[in-house]
Symmetry: C2
Subunit: 191 residues, 2 copies
């Protein structure tokens, strides 16, 4: 596999998706984010909404485990298998940026990856999510806590790695203190 | 305080010290590493060896606590106070690179710092410590484990922050996968 892949893991509200898209545009390579979800949806037969939510639901929840896993492959496990196949195919096909979906883990040992983690302090993220996704009944702090918890549980369940632990990545960037543009520049130059 | 400070925290054997020195040379600013130890030694009255070892001893050990801390300021606490003062003075005086000694924490909120963490996988670090410090009776893996454990305990005790946790820094760089020179370039350009 000769393609170079940039995988971006990110805390909710840190701007990781924006950074991924900008890097891809500047490098003139595709960025798989919602496109990835569409592909997984198409291949799995689930709706894009279900696939999207799956990453943010606790796949390793006990109820899910008791209800499904004891008897056969459950929806989440099936989706995970499709997700792996789709990501392998993308990486085989072309150099690109992949945002989220444990791509760093799925491509370990088989692709030339630059593994990036984007994070920021809560104040920065709270402002950003209100600006981008609007106000909600829950406070921004609560929304951040919920999303991060779900993403971390999902990542942990399928990869057995601690989400957001620096050692899992080649580079970890604080978008709050460095700014989105500097993060883009660093990743682009490293590529 | 108008000076810009680069603080470098690093895992043992990751090349953090080398990176700090190279960045400082290229930016034409001083790098405080052994110079810092000498300054702390001079101001505290302890030997440089004692100051050096202090960072790698578990300052928060229970025995030390029971023996000293219950009655008065012990050696480690006194040394910590001197260390804070020396680092504040350096940051007040000039722009520079400071390696280790919790400078990121000591300068929080009072200086314009770029807080860097350098890490690498064990294979890279093991090779590096044998090359730089030579063979020892203990295996490189054991030496890494011991040093990291001591540094983490020291950092944790005085800062109440988890050592090596990405969120504590502006940028975290894997010197094993990126290479020393790329780390130097990224930090230099961010400065």
């Amino acid at each position: 596999m000769k393609n170079r892949i940039i995988t971006i893991s990110r805390e909710f509200g840190s701007g990781g998706r924006t950074i991924g898209k900008k890097v891809a545009t500047e490098l003139n390579i595709p960025c798989y984010d919602s496109e990835l979800i569409d592909k997984i949806a198409k291949e799995s037969g689930f709706t894009a909404e279900y696939v999207q939510e799956n990453e943010e639901n606790n796949a390793g929840g006990y109820l899910s485990f008791l209800c499904n896993r004891a008897f056969s492959l459950n929806n989440e496990d099936y989706l995970w298998k499709v997700q792996c196949r789709v990501i392998w195919e993308i990486a085989e096909k072309e150099s690109c940026v992949i945002v989220g979906r444990c791509a760093d883990y799925i491509l370990r040992d088989i692709a030339d990856c630059l593994r990036v983690f984007i994070y920021a302090d809560e104040v920065f993220r709270a402002k950003r999510i209100v600006k981008i996704y609007g106000e909600r009944a829950e406070s921004p702090a609560q929304r951040i806590k919920d999303k991060d918890k779900r993403r971390a549980a999902y990542h942990r369940f399928y990869t057995d790695m601690k989400w957001g632990y620096a050692q899992n990545y080649d580079i970890n960037l604080n978008s709050g203190t460095l700014g989105i543009e500097k993060c883009v520049k660093i990743i682009k130059e490293l590529y």
